[in-house]
Symmetry: C2
Subunit: 193 residues, 2 copies
DNA sequence: ATGTTTATTGACTCGTCAATCAACAACCGC
DNA sequence: GCGGTTGTTGATTGACGAGTCAATAAACAT
């Protein structure tokens, strides 16, 4: 049974299974055994590779954050001016890899975890800072000193759209979500001072 | 010890203690014993009056929702035109009784609970529908058929500001939060068609 | 006085679950 | 073919926590 070099495969399988299980339950109240079973292994093995339940969750969140980051970077890479840069950050946030039921449920629970786990809070702050600085970089040339508040509003709006999407069953409407935020952005860009 | 007519006092004490305990822990992962202790009684009594842990939480959420509803109604009562009506709904959402650390933490966890508890989901939908209809009522005369999308955006923005406030320690800045949303509203009202 | 209703709790049951461990299985270099 | 490394699990432990229950105590009714 045991083939060598299994560690990365097992870890990946556990991360995937964690996102699926948390997504299906809509809560972090899932057992390591459930996750391990979905990943096709025993719960002892999950502990063997990750050490604790919390570390399994955090690995899953890191995976989600890294997909999200890659999507935003990808969208940014084709942007040639500030306006498109800001739009890219928004559109990256609603790309297919991130704005999915499972990932959204994970996000929501991640917010909750951040209230009690220092490591989760740290991770969340990293994401928020990156998002904020991405937005500011594009916004500054467009709205000058208003960039701060505008970024604030965009970030909050994106977060709000995310958690509202957590409540609909089935996959959320990416197009509609993205358009809503982009429309808000247009309004902000209309007045330049 | 036992004085008659204790039921309503006990229930209220448990609701209060639940909000405090969940607020302090930032999670629904608190024991009935913790809540009961904070409310100055045994866990058996908590079960006696509420039947189950979930019912205790739901009672706490109903209390928060009812305070919120009262605040919005209060703000609405002095509004004399559509514009002030919409502003009242927004400002009611950031009134002192609702936009507090504890209540915000409860909200966040309520969203999570709504993913797995039918009763929590029902309760949440009641609130969302009421908020939406309050907004629409004021928005329709102002922006006509755009009222739907605008209400959508306002609702999402308010939710987003809420969960972001969950992450700051200490009491959140009500003024700033409210201003941010009101500024968004002004922008939406600028173009009337 | 006595029985009924309401209030209250300590002690208990029963299940669950994270984490550990001992043991077993396959592969590797030699 | 042997010792070390890696992979893997069933069984077990130990703790914790929701919910129950029997028992006690005060108030009330008659």
């Amino acid at each position: 049974m045991p083939k060598l070099g299994a560690e990365p495969i097992r870890r990946a399988a556990l991360v995937k299974a964690t996102i699926e299980t948390v997504g299906a339950a809509g809560s972090l109240d899932v057992t390591v055994a459930q996750i391990a079973r979905r990943a096709g292994m025993s719960s002892a093995l999950a502990h063997h590779y990750f050490g604790s339940k919390e570390q399994i969750f955090l690995a899953a969140m890191r995976s989600i954050l890294s997909i999200y980051g890659a999507e935003v970077r990808g969208a940014l890479s084709t942007a040639r001016n500030p306006r498109d840069r800001v739009r890219a950050v928004v559109m990256g946030s609603f790309a297919a890899g991130s704005f999915r039921h499972e990932a959204i449920a994970a996000w929501l629970n991640f917010y909750v975890l951040a209230q009690s786990s220092a490591e989760a809070r740290r991770l969340l702050h990293v994401y928020q800072r990156r998002m904020r600085s991405n937005l500011l970089y594009g916004l500054r040339p467009l709205v000058g000193e208003r960039a701060g508040p505008v970024a604030e509003g965009l970030g909050a709006l994106i977060d709000g759209v995310y958690i509202r999407a957590a409540l609909v069953e089935g996959e959320p409407d990416r197009q509609a979500a993205c358009d809503l935020v982009l429309a808000h952005l247009e309004k902000e860009l209309e007045c330049k001072p």
